[in-house]
């Protein structure tokens, strides 16, 4: 077993984990952070995407021990403590960018990292930015629209 200390959505968790434990399994099974879903277990779908020290990672492709000492943001911790949605969450709702919603946590967190790198992406750049995330409801058109809207809202927020 290995000792890990990971801050998840602002709360620090100290645990002993088997060295082979994947971050997503640690989040879901040990910490009960089941907002992060497992879509494929093979790094294809991106549903399990979280932010590791602000950078998007597929948490099925990261070992829990690799996150030792880091901060993880999941979909559960993205909104403000008072419940105010993150602009990307708000835009997904307003643009109808989800149907069943299973890919949505990963889509939203990938989009957050994309907009951190590129606050004003073109449609092509958005599509490239979220290409690691699959949606089986085929709702990509509205997802791209939502990311575009969120980018506009976030730039306006920074300017004001």
């Amino acid at each position: 077993m290995a000792s890990v200390s990971i801050t998840v959505d602002g709360v620090r968790y100290d645990d002993d984990v088997a060295p082979r434990t994947l971050l997503v399994h640690h989040l879901r099974n040990a910490l009960g952070k089941v907002g992060t879903v497992v879509g494929c277990d093979t790094s294809n779908c991106g549903a399990c995407t979280v932010l590791l020290d602000g950078v998007s990672v597929k948490s099925c492709s990261v070992l829990a021990v690799q996150a030792d000492g880091s901060e993880v943001t999941t979909i559960e911790g993205l909104a403000a403590p008072d419940g105010t949605l993150h602009p990307v969450q708000q835009a997904f709702h307003e643009r109808h960018a989800l149907q069943c919603g299973f890919c949505t946590p990963g889509m939203i967190l990938s989009a957050v990292d994309l907009l951190r790198e590129n606050p004003d992406p073109s449609e092509v750049e958005i599509r490239e930015g979220i290409e690691g995330n699959l949606c089986r409801c085929t709702g990509y058109q509205n997802i791209v629209s939502a990311v575009k809207d969120a980018a506009t809202a976030m730039r306006a927020g920074v300017a004001s």
């Binding site: 879903v37 979909i75 949605l85 989800l98 949505t104 939203i108």
Partner: protein, 65 residues
């Protein structure tokens, strides 16, 4: 010929976009997916597929894991 659905006067629903009420839990990670449910005595199942395309199962060695 153009077919354009007319929005009936006074209608709040027909022809108007509608925000989904289920989005709130889906975009904040609060949906209770089947995979999230843990019940007392919950068992897990895994399917072990045969490496042989056509054969006869003669015995199962349950001691091997």
């Amino acid at each position: 010929m153009t077919i354009a659905p007319e929005r009936p006067a006074g209608s709040l629903e027909v022809g108007a976009p509608r925000r989904r009420k289920e989005d709130a839990r889906l975009i904040t990670g609060r949906t209770n997916w089947t995979d999230n449910i843990v019940l007392p005595g919950l068992l897990h199942m895994a399917i072990l597929r045969s490496p042989i395309a056509h054969g006869r199962l003669t015995h199962i060695d349950a001691a091997r894991r």
